[in-house]
């Protein structure tokens, strides 16, 4: 589903954000990307949704080479992915409904279908009572659930999450994690960037650890379940 071969990203010639990353992620997997601040977690995700281009190496998503994507193809790649951010990235002067519906609007869905699907998805994240609220009136956990609903509305095959629980307190973190695990159970591949070790221990899954831009361990590889980097 996602393959990275010798991927490197450098900024201004000498600042290395990522180097020699070789990873394969199968369909339906739940993978943590972990490491301290500045390890390269966010950069890795940015490369996957084409907010950045790799300095070298190849990135394949569903067989499509993302590292050589043309600018006008980027929106179409993003429509196949769901992305959730630590700071939610919601449009504050839009209602919850409008924030989620926007994804379907750009895909040209009929208004009736949009309404039905948005309400369905908001129900799934237990926000059906907040449809007409504005994001700033919601708690952090609720805002993140709106962001998750937006990421899920188009049934993406891959969900990328960049520290989605980073701003949330432990109770809400648990709630959000439950959502992610449910989504994963339904077959969505999830890449979950976090520096929170306790979260990984509470919900053990495959873990890719980064440090100063290099991949230092991959739990899959150490358990022998998947051969990493031997391409």
């Amino acid at each position: 589903m996602i393959e990275l071969y010798h991927v490197a990203k450098t900024y201004q010639r000498d600042i290395t954000a990522l180097s020699e990353i070789n990873v394969k992620i199968r369909k339906g997997e739940f993978v943590y990307i972990t490491g301290p601040s500045g390890a390269g977690k966010t950069t890795l995700l940015k490369l996957l949704f084409a907010a950045e281009t790799p300095s070298s190496g190849q990135i394949l998503i569903g067989g499509k080479n993302v590292s050589r994507i043309r600018p006008r193809e980027i929106p179409f790649l993003r429509r196949q992915l769901g992305v959730v951010f630590q700071d939610f990235k919601l449009i504050n002067h839009w209602t919850v409904f409008q924030n989620v519906a926007f994804v379907l609007e750009i895909l040209g869905f009929p208004r009736k279908d949009i309404r039905r699907r948005v309400l369905q998805t908001l129900k799934r994240v237990q926000l059906n009572h907040r449809v007409e609220s504005f994001p700033q009136k919601l708690s952090g956990g609720e805002q993140q659930r709106v962001a998750i609903a937006r990421a899920l509305i188009n049934d993406p095959k891959i969900l990328l999450a960049d520290e989605p629980t980073g701003n949330l307190d432990p109770d809400i973190t648990q709630e959000i994690m439950t959502f992610f695990l449910e989504i994963n159970d339904r077959g969505t591949t999830i890449l979950f960037a976090t520096h929170d070790r306790s979260l990984i221990q509470a919900y053990p899954k495959r873990v890719i650890s980064l440090k100063r831009g290099s991949l230092i361990t991959d739990s899959e590889e150490s358990s022998g379940g998947f051969e990493l980097g031997r391409t």
Binding site: F49, A51, R72, R78, V83, F102, V103, I106
Partner: protein
């Protein structure tokens, strides 16, 4: 492209950023008010010049003893010329009584004359297109050769000065108008840019969930155009209200200068103002939007 949604998005944006939009409309309206005011002043000054221009006359003096049929033939021949807008025949008696009237108290100087020395004449008003020195000289030169013509007069020196002043005035109007137009354009561009700038985060979010540039461009273009066009209309309304208030004060001095009264911008000029506002709105939002697309 989902136009329906683009329009809804535009409406939504306009409402939710009402204060910023009102501020932008206000600034643009101010820029257009200055431009409109300039146009109004220039238009009325030009009307005065136009009135004065109408007084440019060519007078054809007829030879003494020209018979009625000859005079009529000459008149017909002159009237057929494309330079001629109007023609009046002044008999020698009419010319004499005019002169007497002009001299007023000193009319007694004419008493010494045994007979009326003034010739009959044709007073010619020229078409606007031919009110320039070269055309008038050419016209006078040709008419002078017509049968029955004694002399052709057009006040060459006065005309030269008048036309020179007129030319300088028109160049000044163009230059100042151009400068004000550029300044207005710059203000509009920067104001629209401010709106787009305040939305850069929003644009980024929309792009992250898969919106294409062309999809996003439409609501922003609509917003830029709406701001600029509504601002131009507001400025015209303000100008018109000021006009209604001050018109009566200005009418008298203007009438003293010329027979031309003062008038408001005509529909063509109003359309031009609104049209250029729309154009500047499109340009402003297109250029500034492009700057914030790199997400």
């Amino acid at each position: 492209m989902q136009w329906g949604f683009a329009f809804r998005l535009f409406g939504q944006n306009f409402r939710s950023n009402r204060n910023l939009n009102l501020l932008s409309v206000g600034i643009i309206a101010f820029a257009f008010l200055i431009l409109g005011l300039f146009l109004l002043v220039a238009k009325n000054l030009d009307q005065i010049a136009e009135k004065w221009g109408e007084q440019i006359q060519v007078v054809i003096f007829l030879k003494d003893g020209t018979s009625e049929p000859d005079r009529k033939a000459l008149e017909k021949k002159v009237r057929e010329r494309r330079e001629v807008k109007g023609l009046a025949y002044v008999t020698s008696e009419q010319a004499y009584s005019r002169l007497k009237k002009m001299l007023q108290d000193r009319a007694s100087v004419l008493d010494g004359l045994n007979q009326n020395p003034l010739p009959a004449s044709l007073e010619i008003q020229l078409d606007k297109k031919y009110r320039n020195l070269a055309s008038i000289q050419a016209f006078a030169g040709e008419v002078r050769e017509f049968a029955g013509v004694k002399e052709v007069f057009f006040g060459q020196k006065w005309l030269k000065n008048f036309l020179a002043i007129l030319r300088i005035f028109r160049i000044l109007v163009l230059a100042i108008g151009g400068l004000i137009f550029l300044a207005s354009g710059f203000i509009i561009y920067n104001t629209v840019k401010l709106t787009v700038y305040s939305r850069r985060e929003e644009i980024g979010i929309m792009k992250l969930v898969g919106a294409t540039d062309s999809f996003l461009r439409i609501p922003f273009l609509l917003e830029g155009v709406t701001q600029a066009v509504s601002a131009s209309i507001i400025s015209i309304i303000i100008l018109w209200i000021c006009w209604l208030i001050f018109r009566n004060f200005l009418q008298v001095p203007f009438l003293l200068f010329s027979q031309a009264g003062i008038s408001f911008l005509d529909s063509g000029q109003i359309l031009m103002l609104v049209g250029s506002a729309g154009l500047l709105g499109i340009l402003g939002s297109m250029v500034s939007f492009q700057e914030f697309l790199k997400v």
